[in-house]
């Protein structure tokens, strides 16, 4: 007699029944974990967003103040105060504007705006997961 003979006896195992609502308990547990994760991320991104906005406002104020005292501002003013002169001498005007442009300040502003928008999108996403009561993957 070999093992294959024993197998032919059709050893059949009946599935052990479980509680009728075990599936619901499982889904509820996972939804709870999902909301918990979303809450932690929401707190992190939310606090970061407010912090960046706070820092951003003071940086913007400083940049704006420096901008008003800059050479670029003087040249830009010509553009609006004496448009005809600016257009007649557009090449040197453009060159002066480019040379005096506050590249670093522009970069800082763009970065801060980018970070704020990113944090805002993350905060919104986590808030929507936290407020929903279903399993979603985002």
């Amino acid at each position: 007699m070999t093992i294959t003979d024993l197998e032919k006896i059709s050893l059949k195992l009946d599935m052990i029944p479980c509680e009728y609502n075990l599936e619901d308990k499982i889904i509820e547990k996972i939804e709870k974990a999902q909301r918990h994760n979303a809450r932690i991320k929401l707190e992190f991104f939310g606090v970061s967003l407010f912090a960046i906005i706070g820092i951003g406002v003071s940086i913007f104020a400083k940049i704006f103040s420096d901008f008003q005292n800059s050479v670029f501002y003087d040249y830009a003013s010509i553009l609006f105060s004496d448009t005809r002169f600016a257009l007649t001498n557009w090449k040197p005007t453009l060159l002066l504007l480019v040379e005096s442009a506050p590249i670093l300040d522009i970069f800082i502003i763009v970065t801060i705006v980018g970070v704020v928008l990113y944090l805002l999108s993350k905060t919104t996403k986590e808030a929507s997961i936290f407020l929903q009561h279903k399993l979603i993957y985002k």
Partner: protein
Amino acid sequence: MIRMEIDDNQLVKDYLNGLEGSFEIIVKRYTRPLYSFVWRLCGNKESSEDIVQDTFLKVWKNLKRFDLERNFKVWIYAIARNSTYDFLRKKKLIMFSEMDNTEDDSTFEENIADATPLADQLFEEKETSKLIDESIKNLPERYKEVVILRHETGMTFEDISDTLKEPMNTVKSRYRRAIMKMQESLLLNAPKKV
């Protein structure tokens, strides 16, 4: 209802693509089979429920790391098995020595010199499934899991080998020994015909 027929890996893909309801189908599909598997290993209703819930939580947390080329059934059963053994170890219900691999890699096809009559008539008896359950319960853990995976989930030896992360010969060897032990137990405990 049509979604219930969809392949496991497709459901995982759908869930990761944001399709609602896909993970719930996986839960519905595997809750009872996993519960049965875990219950046979640990023998306790409440613990089995906790372990199954824990298993699905781990599955959900690691779903984005799941390799879609792999067999999802093998993966989920491996998680369930590991969760069960973690639980049993914490409860100190199994000794560490039971986890050692003491089987050799002998070949699977082997004639068993056994003079007792084949017990197939025992399987015809009404109490057969109870006897089988009892005989499985008394098996060592390593043999038990192979028999359950083979005869409850219908896994091939290859899948079982992947689930348990053991060589196929080892799995087959354990299966052979498990069946032998079960046969001994059945012959011992079968009701005598008058």
